[in-house]
């Protein structure tokens, strides 16, 4: 636990100590805007009649919270190895690398959630979004979301540990595909039937839909509408266990292999 908290503190320092505290707080509030600005412009101009703005806005915001975790986990391998050149020291410390990654990502997730809360504070009244939160679903869903995203992030981090040439573009491509299919921006029912069916099994889909319902108190489209909220919660919990379990095993294996192959302190300037 001490290692986890220390890693969270390191995460907070990396995220915030580049500027004054008040500037960072402004940054914290402004950063998520980039994730949903396109949604407001596009649905505001072209999609007023569709009534899909709440669906897309909530979907994009909650996808953003997950993306912060898996991008941070994947990128931190490169960042610690190449940029700060501290990866070898992390491996030498008593804290396991898995705990370190989870601690750093937890801070990133909390920062993302704080940014979301701040922005919902003005988005809900200004855009008249449906807002009837179920706090218990929101709280449990948030924790499970962190585990889902961490599981995915750990899988990518394990690959990054074993290669010194993979670029973060790979993460962009992987999660870009999941973004299209997860139904964050528009209902996947727009896709051909086969792809729409696949979309239901994308790891982020049930989490995003769960959080949409938890915050709006409504089922906003026909996507996953036949699944009850409790069933969605069950699916997210199952996914969290599976993904986090696999991710943890892969990072443990990846760490051992990376040490054997001498990839821990390689710098390439890629």
């Amino acid at each position: 636990m001490r290692g986890f908290l220390a890693s969270m503190y390191i995460g907070l320092q990396i995220e915030s100590n580049w500027t004054r505290k008040w500037v960072w707080l402004l940054y914290l509030a402004a950063y998520p805007i980039g994730s949903f600005l396109a949604v407001i412009v596009l649905y505001g101009v072209f999609g007023k009649e569709t009534g899909l703005l709440p669906y897309a806005l909530y979907g994009t915001i909650f996808y953003y919270s997950l993306s912060m975790v898996f991008f941070d986990m994947a990128f931190s391998v490169h960042d610690d190895r190449e940029h700060y050149q501290t990866l070898k020291y992390i491996f030498l410390s008593r804290t396991s690398y898995l705990v370190y990654l989870c601690g750093r990502a937890a801070t990133r997730y909390l920062i993302a959630i704080a940014g979301i809360v701040l922005n919902l504070g003005w988005l809900v009244p200004v855009l008249h979004l449906p807002f009837h939160p179920n706090w218990s679903y929101l709280a449990v869903g948030s924790i499970l979301g962190y585990l889902v995203a961490s599981g995915l992030g750990l899988m990518v981090a394990s690959v990054f540990l074993l290669t010194i040439k993979l670029d973060v573009d790979v993460v962009d491509a992987l999660f870009g595909g999941m973004f299209v299919l997860s139904g964050a921006l528009f209902p996947p029912t727009a896709f051909p039937a086969v792809i729409a069916k696949i979309a239901e099994f994308v790891p982020m889909s049930p989490f995003i839909e769960l959080m949409r319902r938890a915050v709006s108190g409504q089922v906003l489209t026909s996507f996953l509408s036949t699944t009850s909220t409790l069933e969605l919660l069950g699916r997210v919990a199952l996914l969290a266990i599976i993904l986090f379990g696999i991710g943890s095993i892969l990072v443990a294996l990846g760490s051992r292999q990376a040490q054997r192959k001498g990839y821990i302190d390689v710098t390439t300037a890629f």
Partner: protein, 271 residues
């Protein structure tokens, strides 16, 4: 004079070479960035289908998908490069060498534009084939002129920002991360910039991609009607913007070089 020009061209060639061939060595980088660009394009095309807009929007999105890799290259491959070189410990060496910093950045831009071209063309190809988008080639010559001038202006802006980002260090890195998505939205990569309204449009017009994309859409998508200005005016504006950026970039680089040598601090890692 001849010697200086030769040195400039040699530096330019050396830096461009690394950017072009270094990036080609790893196939996963090229494939991943093409797939990433394709997914972004797919997202917006299906979004427009969900919203029930006309087919011309698919062509508009594909052109946006073609230009986006250049914008990302300018931001992450040029604007943040001097800062990155400092963090890797190379900037000191570059500043003590006789090679001019401007040649280094122009080489970076030329190389960056060339290696991004492959990715952008691949995204364009997949967009045309998969989504059956049609473009008119009636004004292809002018479209190429607009494209080249847009790149000139975009990379000029990138060089201006490279000095600024170096000067401000980690703050600037965070700023680049912060402005990336809003700038992409403002430049109308995935929707007609005219819908931004006069106020925002005035701001967006300072980003060369905005006018460049609007002009390209007018020239290549026959049914594209929500234009910002006539494409000839946009071409002229891009040219003027490019020249202004070139002058500012040259001044900013000289200032950075002077400060780096005087204070002996700007080039040190983690400062």
């Amino acid at each position: 004079m001849r010697k200086q020009l030769l040195l400039f061209l040699r530096t330019l060639n050396a830096r461009a070479y690394v950017r072009i061939f270094g990036q080609m060595r790893e196939a996963t980088w090229v494939i991943a960035s093409v797939i990433g660009g394709f997914f972004t394009m797919t997202t917006y095309i299906y979004l427009y289908r969900t919203l029930g807009t006309g087919s011309e929007f698919s062509g508009m999105v594909v052109l946006g998908g073609f230009m986006t890799p250049f914008f990302l290259n300018v931001l992450w491959g040029v604007a943040t490069q001097l800062y990155w070189e400092k963090e890797m410990g190379n900037l000191e060496l570059m500043l003590v060498s006789p090679a001019p910093l401007s040649a280094f950045l122009v080489g970076l831009s030329v190389g960056g534009a060339m290696h991004t071209m492959l990715r952008a063309l691949a995204v364009l190809f997949f967009g045309i084939v998969v989504f059956k988008v049609q473009f008119t080639v009636l004004h292809l010559g002018w479209a190429l002129v607009v494209f080249v001038v847009t790149l000139f202006s975009m990379y000029g802006l990138g060089i201006v920002f490279s000095s600024l980002f170096l000067y401000h260090g980690r703050d600037a890195w965070r700023t680049a991360d912060l402005v990336m998505e809003p700038t992409n939205v403002l430049s109308g990569s995935y929707f007609p910039a005219r819908f931004l309204g006069i106020g925002l449009l005035g701001l967006a017009a300072l980003i060369p991609t905005t006018l460049g994309l609007d002009a390209l859409r007018q020239l290549l998508v026959p049914s594209f009607t929500p234009i910002v200005l006539g494409w000839r005016w946009e071409l002229l504006a891009l040219l003027v913007l490019g020249l202004i950026f070139a002058v500012i970039a040259s001044w900013a680089l000289r200032s950075v070089e002077y400060k780096a040598r005087r204070d002996a601090r700007l080039t040190l890692r983690w400062q």
